[in-house]
Symmetry: C3
Subunit: 356 residues, 3 copies
Amino acid sequence: MEKGDKGRFFEDFEVGRVLRHAGPRTVTAADAALYLALTGSRFALQAAEPLARSWGLPACPLDDILVFHLVFGLSVPDLSVNAIANLGYADGRFSAPVFPGDTLAARSTVIGRKQTSSGKSGIVWVRTEGFKTCGTPVLDYVRWVLVNKRDPASPAPEPVVPELPAVVGPDRLVVPHGLAPRAVDPAETGSPWFFEDYAVGERIDHVDGMAVMESEHRLATRLYRNTARVHFNDHVERRGRLGSVIVYGGVVMSIARALSFNGLGNACSILAINAGTHANPCRPGDTIYAWSEVLERAELPGRADVGALRLRLVALKDHPAADFPLRDETGAYRPEVLLDLDYWALLPRRGVAVER
Amino acid sequence: MEKGDKGRFFEDFEVGRVLRHAGPRTVTAADAALYLALTGSRFALQAAEPLARSWGLPACPLDDILVFHLVFGLSVPDLSVNAIANLGYADGRFSAPVFPGDTLAARSTVIGRKQTSSGKSGIVWVRTEGFKTCGTPVLDYVRWVLVNKRDPASPAPEPVVPELPAVVGPDRLVVPHGLAPRAVDPAETGSPWFFEDYAVGERIDHVDGMAVMESEHRLATRLYRNTARVHFNDHVERRGRLGSVIVYGGVVMSIARALSFNGLGNACSILAINAGTHANPCRPGDTIYAWSEVLERAELPGRADVGALRLRLVALKDHPAADFPLRDETGAYRPEVLLDLDYWALLPRRGVAVER
Amino acid sequence: MEKGDKGRFFEDFEVGRVLRHAGPRTVTAADAALYLALTGSRFALQAAEPLARSWGLPACPLDDILVFHLVFGLSVPDLSVNAIANLGYADGRFSAPVFPGDTLAARSTVIGRKQTSSGKSGIVWVRTEGFKTCGTPVLDYVRWVLVNKRDPASPAPEPVVPELPAVVGPDRLVVPHGLAPRAVDPAETGSPWFFEDYAVGERIDHVDGMAVMESEHRLATRLYRNTARVHFNDHVERRGRLGSVIVYGGVVMSIARALSFNGLGNACSILAINAGTHANPCRPGDTIYAWSEVLERAELPGRADVGALRLRLVALKDHPAADFPLRDETGAYRPEVLLDLDYWALLPRRGVAVER
């Protein structure tokens, strides 16, 4: 029997099927350092041990988006080898911080599928759960993917489309266990803005632009264990639709999040991913800019020290963010929009600010 | 006296000479993480601490090919600065696993040399031994290198050509101390194929292709402490024979080995390198594909849990592996062949497989 | 109020102002491994734990230039966002070695400023101090930067130009606490040359050339937390003066220092930076060569084991160092000169050499 795996096709994703993803991976401080070198992230909680400890954690947690990519990457060989596009995310929730030394594993459950009108492909919905090998869940989310059929003539299965919440309700948000900032020094974190300083509807231009080059996106994508060929096979992709490999959408997400430090420097932790769309493909060499919009502000029950902001994070290519582009008059994403991400972030409240 | 070292020439390699290589290097989890980010390797034993421990090791060992490169790299300033080409490897044997915290050192002994017919260069054979600074040997192998003469008019030395075994005999293979997989879960390792599932003569297309770009090969080569100028000096190499720097052959080896996970996912450890040839040069931007052939299958004395497969690993550039190219009708390597490597890998046997 | 920070302008730097830099950062062995992979540095003290311990240190210290970059990087968001050029360094002194696990923070004091004749910009002098969050100072230095004015019409402030020493006097040099090499083996460190082997006026060609490519300089610059846009924003910089981003001058410094191993392999530690000028911009793809000149030799009071060499390190682009280029007949730097750095290095003395 042929041993080189060519990946699953649409026909292989029966609803209810559970896929245990191979390759558990012990994360270390090196993953954190590489993530920093690859993204330029400057959030203090993930980088300064004394600060993390004084805020109640045993060590610097890994960046939440890195955890997302690591769990996502574990699922790629089972889900996305023959994927045409990653269509969206919903109902993503971080349930425990991940520290160096933890070993991450993941499984996915097929929760829906629907053939497309062309008959050549179909959409598959999965819920992916990431957990530590000790059993603690760390993250779960739904994503849906456009997948090729093995045989265009195979019959369309009964469509099953899952109902998904538009937003993770604030009551379902989990503050990382132990995190309790008591004295937040703006001169240390790099931002004077606390939870109360953001108004719903406010938009923030993150100012800086950062290009993503050939080797960087590949290093990042391999670090996340994402092996999808569209990111690596120049021999094929140079002759393809885009004329180059595609940058993994997660790389765009990470750089946009890192850029968002400039304006959201106290948004220290991501609690949930409500929705996400990769609106246009990113190519090596594109310069990424980002802007954010405050969508909602939620106090958290029993917490006077922290609150949650629901934010839209928009990544752009080769277009500064000062005019906040998103959609055109027809409602379609503008061509410079790479990512439209809706997430909940944790911020300290003004009451815990200190001046030193 | 001039202090900048211009490297040794053919005349400097008297047979019997022992070269102690400078620059012992303590390896860490960061080297492992960087190796993963640079190669995309997915073998579980090297990445998941709980799995490594449940298989009898104290921690995740460093990837064997990374150990090979680190030992090789230590030898470069003494051996290859004026090398024209790295011609081959033989009789390579891994004798102990390397863990984060170990410090690696190396020495080489000149075991042969022979002037080439042109009179301008010569072949030098060395046996290189890598060891931990505590004294434990970890790897030794023979390689031979085409080296420039300092003075084309210098007289040809008496030729000494060492006799080398075509293959490391299975009786000389060393299973990493402590390694005893007891319960191997295919859903965890990512491969359903065990020792008994491979037949001699079987060929495996590893399917995926991975390009190696400018910065990646340089980062990898520096990580291995290989400073040979053909990999780094664009100013000179752009005007040279290839029009670009050459990618270190070890980078090709690592990527091919990483690609071979798809079909050989349980080949968790490399025991020996029987032979190896860099058939054609790899340039930045080339996409690497790989295929394997099962050459021999050896049971290991007293071991019901593991066996050894002798494998040929062939790396190709810009050519998918489905038709298993190797040599043309004249017996010469085809132009798309980058590497022809003959090695022994350790695989768990079916008896230790579990279903969970 | 707008939350995306556009950075400080000339007008914002009142003399006497103290800027506490945000983002303390815990350094790890991963930073050391990445630095090695990015620079190719081969100095043994920073790479081999047993050697570092036998020389009296508790562990391998981070490379001094890496410490310099990390402290410099912390200062960038406060100092250099609107900088046009980094004009020079003076009076830099390393006061304590940095080890994995230490957390670095920094602050800068404005010590001078002077509007330029154009009226559109000005020079700002700052003293930057890096320290461990436990309080130990690790490095301080002066740098001066050409910064844009926010408003070209704003009045010129009273010029304040600090007096700076041309050289850090040998009496102010601090040998890293505990460092006492007792038995230095040239076959281990990779260099046969000790303190006494260098003569004032001697020039050393470091022979090798190393190109710095797109992704490498960005990875390095982000690792150092330097976010200055000229290094990252291709969208803007491709249309700018150079037609590309500029490589952070610190990347040039690191590669030149790494190349200097070939000839200065026992220059294990940097004690001071007397002066430094980035003479011409480096672009991605440039190949860097380097040469050194011995400027001064200082015995250190009470130390028979180590001495200090004052060295000029010159980095060149696309030009081998054999003819030691520096200035043209008018006294201006030649176009191939990237960096002219004047520093003090520590070297073991011949009395501690051993032969094994």
